[in-house]
Amino acid sequence: MHEQIKVSVPAEPGFVALLRSVVAGVAGLRGFGVDAIEDLRLAIGEACADLLEQAPEGTVLGVDLEVAEGALEAVVWTDAGAAGWSGAEAEGRLTWLLLRALTDEATLIERPEGPGVRLVKRTAARGAG
């Protein structure tokens, strides 16, 4: 099983709940436990909040999901452009502490179109972070 689900919305705070719901829904339908679903929900919210700070009005915020056996990968991205974005600074912030605690992998990705956050959550429930 290998699936791709993509959603993009205007880069506005009001749309974040929608993205969180989409990701939670996909995780739920693909057999993730409720704890993992709620962690993902929080993580997506955090990632979006972080990216929104860099994304001016009129830009796009998106989530690309890839579901494979036992793992869900979510790339949260903006098309706000790479200008003025500093990955190093972003890494040290609260968002990243939270993202790492909430997911199995959390990395910043820098693309010419704009910054993104890659999150991986696995179904195999790890006991404690």
Binding site: A24, G28, G33, D35, E38, R41, G45, E46, L94, L98
Partner: protein
């Protein structure tokens, strides 16, 4: 108060006369409504600035006025304007109540949410792990979609009681936490966050601590404090939002 009267005695006479003709004469009804429209508008204006347009409020007030006309008993000693005022204000208040209610979680979702929450706790106990959506759906006899919808609603709508103290037993387990050995490396990373953490209520702080310092899952925390997992989820989301708001001013380097 009707704004259209000069002579109260005449008004009283006229009022009685109009209400006597009311049943068979539609023009009498219209006249009563017309005479009291300024009263309705005045009362509507007193509820301005609460998120409803003056036009909508006036419509609601006029509806109240019409109800008052239909229900008024002229044989009683009370003046129509007094009776109408009470009816109109009642109608406006009810309107606000209904609207507030409509903004909340639909009843169907509340009920489903309650069932999901119960099933979640029970299944967690039985399996010793966080249940999947499919398992919950099977237990409550609903579709996965319905379960997801309920989970969404429960996470999105913040309960008013969130800030309320969670009752007895709370202090006991917060005390217990202090005796556990903190993870120093993690704490150091959180150094910059500490000032913002200080402003949080004790319970929020403790839940954050359990989830991120102790690596407990939401279900484990829920069990430990004796609330539902969805409640923990809501508290975490709200706490993170607060933290972010508190950190925002110096977040931009």
């Amino acid at each position: 108060m009707t704004g259209s009267t000069r002579d109260p005695t005449f008004d009283r006479e006229r009022e009685r006369e109009l209400f006597e003709r009311l049943a068979e004469d539609p023009s009498a009804r219209e006249e009563v409504i017309e005479l009291h429209t300024p009263l309705a508008r005045y009362l509507a204006s007193r509820f301005r600035g609460r998120g409803e347009t003056f036009e909508d409020l006036t419509q609601v007030a006029l509806l109240g006025l019409i109800k008052a006309v239909d229900r008024f008993d002229p044989s009683r000693e009370v003046r129509f304007s007094t009776y109408a005022s009470a009816t109109i204000v009642g109608e406006i208040k009810r309107h606000f109540r209904d609207r507030a209610w409509a903004l909340r979680v639909p009843r169907r979702l509340q009920e489903m949410g309650l069932q999901v929450s119960k099933a979640l706790g029970a299944l967690h106990q039985e399996h010793g792990r966080s249940p999947t959506v499919a398992e919950i759906a099977e237990r409550v006899g609903a579709s996965e979609e319905e379960v997801l919808e309920a989970m969404d609603a429960m996470t999105a709508y913040t309960a008013e009681s969130l800030d309320a103290p969670s009752g007895e037993g709370e202090t006991a387990w917060i005390d217990r936490l202090d005796h556990e050995e903190p993870r120093f490396a993690m704490l150091e990373e959180w150094e910059s966050v500490v000032p913002a953490l200080r402003g949080l209520p004790e319970r929020e702080k403790a839940i954050l601590y359990l989830r991120f310092f102790r690596g407990r899952t939401q279900s484990q925390i829920a069990e430990e404090i004796g609330v539902s997992q969805m409640h923990v989820s809501r508290i975490l989301a709200q706490t993170l939002r607060r933290l972010r708001e508190a950190l925002e001013p110096d977040a931009e380097v």
